[in-house]
């Protein structure tokens, strides 16, 4: 099977190790991965901040780049939800504004083919044990767009539970937002910081070494708060845990 990796602009720029982990993991599972070099950004930051018209060309660009692939895999619940949930809505809005079906028709092909990584592993490849080894205590934070937007449910936890050596501990208040929320972190910095602090304190109370999530944006906010609060915990993207093996362990 040949899939396109939609890494997301944030991961590409700031978290290349997550991208390398996805490539390693999928290749190990017999998937042929391509990274279309023309990919950029899904437009979520624009859309969610109120600049829908600025997001439209980015969505079109996404469809141009990824439209021909059998499946598109992304290690981000948030960007995955943008394509699956909000691209159809953008098409509907354009139609309601009297601009016809062109945008909807352009975006339609990519919508059903886009999968968040854990969803792709469990639903498409049908695996929960990916042969990973990660001898650490981990707590899992389900990010909001993955949890409520895509409905990832227990998939990430099932994948983590199957990892050899990994001890999964429950995070109190797991379903509560960490307070990142894209531009929310800038526009409502006080509330965002208070939410982040509570999330980190809850994580700390588990005694885990690692807080894991399927979105680096949330991990950037949580991790930045962790180091500032000097917790000694570290944020790790789920792809890096799943890619880790006894021969090539991730830290």
């Amino acid at each position: 099977m040949r899939v396109a990796l939609f890494l997301t602009c944030v991961n590409d720029t700031l978290y290349p190790e997550t991208g390398r982990a996805v490539v390693k993991l999928l290749t190990r599972l017999g998937v042929e991965v391509d990274f279309p070099m023309a990919q950029t950004c899904c437009g979520q930051a624009h859309y969610n901040t109120g600049y829908r018209h600025e997001a439209e060309p980015l969505a079109r660009h996404f469809s141009d780049v990824f439209g021909e692939y059998e499946a598109i895999v992304t290690p981000s619940g948030s960007c995955g939800a943008m394509v699956r949930e909000l691209y159809p809505r953008m098409g509907e809005r354009a139609r309601a504004e009297g601009r016809g079906d062109t945008l909807a028709a352009t975006l339609a092909p990519v919508v059903p083919k886009t999968y968040e990584l854990t969803e792709f592993l469990v639903d498409v490849l049908g695996v929960t044990d990916v042969g990973a080894y990660y001898p650490h205590t981990v707590t899992y934070h389900p990010t909001c767009h993955g949890l409520r937007g895509l409905g990832l449910g227990e998939r990430p936890r099932r994948l983590l539970q199957a990892v050899e050596g990994l001890e999964l501990v429950e995070l109190p208040g797991a379903d509560e937002c960490c307070g990142f929320g894209g531009t929310f972190a800038l526009k409502n910095a006080d509330v965002s910081a208070a939410m982040g602090t509570d999330k980190v304190r809850n994580a700390e109370s588990t005694g885990a070494e690692v807080l894991c999530a399927a979105d680096n944006s949330c991990l950037m906010h949580i991790g930045g708060t962790m180091t500032r609060l000097e917790t000694g915990m570290r944020p790790v993207h789920i792809a890096e845990i799943l890619a880790s093996t006894e021969e090539e362990p991730a830290s």
Partner: protein, 495 residues
């Protein structure tokens, strides 16, 4: 809406105070987490909750689509049952109607059932200006009124107060308003409730005029419905000679049968009760039973304009259960007052900027008072997609666009103060539209990474004040991909 909220600062500034208030944070955290857990249990007991939610949504959408027809039907039914219907386009008109009706009775005081509509129009203050005193009889509203405070929650307006604070308010203020608090009042719930009961009973027995809102109005029979937990509402609805109900026009349901859905979803969503303790219904007037005169004031106050917006209109489905407040992480930290309206929390963030417009600082900031986590949508018993409406209203703020105001179509200009953001968004879009430009930017960031500051200037300052910035890697992914041919060749480090 209420004049008390005029000139509120933008949400982030108002929230700043609340975030720093440890007592408030603790009160809110305790209250919201308790009710949150109870609600989840109460909802889990119902096997067909998803169907009930869908049914509630459909009934409301259907009614809103045919609101003109059902309003006329309601007016006919209420009139036939002996009631008198008044139409109020805005808050001023509604207040004037109610004040005139009270004056006609020759009375100078009224007892009130807890009502969001009368809070929204600032009725108490308007009556005060006409020399009429309005007594709130709901326990939480009483606490707010005695404390010269503002409500901070739809269902529990005094949620921000703890028992000790309530004892102090009762002891200090009750005598000003009627029967004083008993000597040596403690902060046990039973004693506080008893003090309120004694204080209020005098008012119920004396008042000749009652003022209420309604949770529902049934078009086919002209029946109004109030659901409550304390029974004080029923006292106000039955004892006075004259009853005046002020109700938003969106509160209609077509038939009695439709109530079945909401009488299940509302109590479980709001108080986590299987059924609310008191359900009062009244249809016009009946000789020798209840008020002899009944007035219904149908309130628009921005609702028709909201109905004209095809994305935003779903806010009018709201049955005021406040489940969205109780799960909202932003509400939990910012408190209800920061929303600058009687409708706080996620529903307030979408309702206020629609009912009032986005011209003021507070109203323009409300659509941003959310991390879009979606918890509000998940719990909403009428499936209002609050995040969708928030984003829609953000668009209205930053890009402007067509809206309906007082029945006229107008095109809003983009709000001021978003120029830099707009420019940044456009620049980002430009770069993202050109992979080469993105790549050049990434490379520049990587090559200069040792020079990057630990803190950010401008709008980014708020970020680096409480969080460490991520370090920029030596090599963006796409360069690694190209250099190693997709990870198949040399895995060496970046140059």
């Amino acid at each position: 809406m209420s004049g008390t909220f005029v000139g509120m600062p933008a949400f982030p500034k108002a929230a700043h105070e609340a975030v720093g208030n440890q007592t408030l944070r603790a009160n809110l955290r305790h209250a919201t987490h308790t009710i949150r857990a109870k609600r989840a249990n109460a909802v889990a007991e119902v096997s067909d909750w998803a169907e009930l939610r869908e049914a509630g949504k459909r009934i409301k959408d259907h009614t809103l689509r045919h609101l003109d027809r059902y309003l006329v039907q309601l007016e006919e039914s209420v009139t036939a049952a002996g009631g008198i219907v008044h139409w109020a386009a805005d808050a001023d008109e509604a207040n004037r109607i109610v004040a005139d009706l009270v004056k006609e009775t020759g009375e100078s005081e009224v007892v009130k059932v807890k009502s969001m509509a009368t809070q929204e129009i600032g009725l108490n203050e308007a009556l005060e200006a006409e020399g009429i005193r309005a007594y709130e009889t709901d326990l939480a509203e009483l606490i707010v009124q005695l404390g010269k405070d503002r409500p901070s929650h739809i269902l529990v307006p005094a949620i921000h107060r703890n028992r000790g604070e309530i004892r102090d308010i009762f002891t200090r203020e009750m005598s000003e308003w009627g029967r004083p608090a008993p000597e040596g009042l403690t902060d046990t719930p039973a004693e506080l409730a008893d003090a309120a009961r004694l204080h209020l009973r005098e008012k119920f027995l004396r008042a000749k005029v009652g003022v209420s809102g309604a949770n529902f109005m049934v078009a086919e029979t002209g029946t109004l419905v109030v659901v409550e937990s304390e029974g004080n509402g029923r006292m106000c609805l039955t004892l006075p000679e004259t009853l005046i109900s002020v109700v938003g026009i969106e509160k209609i349901v077509p038939t009695w049968r439709d109530l079945e859905v909401f009488l299940q979803t509302l109590p479980r969503s709001s108080t986590a009760e299987r059924m609310n303790p008191y359900t009062s219904t009244w249809t016009g007037t009946t000789d020798g039973d209840g008020p002899g005169t009944f007035h219904l004031v149908l309130l628009d106050n921005g609702r028709t304009d909201t109905l004209a917006d095809e994305v935003g209109r779903q806010a009018l489905r709201c049955i005021r259960c406040s489940a969205c407040l109780n799960v909202c992480p932003v509400y939990e930290r910012a408190g209800g007052h920061a929303y600058g309206s009687v409708y706080p929390g996620p529903i307030g963030a979408i309702l206020s900027p629609q009912l009032r417009g986005t011209a003021s600082e507070i109203d323009a900031s409300l659509p941003y008072a959310s991390s879009l986590c979606g918890a509000c949508y998940e719990v909403c018993p009428v499936a209002i997609d609050i995040p969708e409406v928030l984003v829609h209203l953000r668009e209205r703020v930053v890009q402007g666009g067509p809206v309906t105001r007082e029945g006229n179509k107008v095109v809003l200009k983009p709000a001021k103060g978003h120029g830099a953001e707009r420019a940044a968004m456009r620049a980002a879009r430009w770069a993202f539209d050109r992979p080469g430009a993105l790549r050049a930017g990434q490379r520049l960031a990587s090559r200069t990474r040792r020079l990057h500051p630990r803190t950010l200037p401008g709008p980014g300052k708020a970020w680096s004040a409480t969080r460490d910035l991520p370090a920029v890697p030596a090599e963006p992914f796409r360069d690694w991909w190209q250099r190693t041919n997709g990870g198949t060749t040399d895995e060496g480090t970046a140059k």
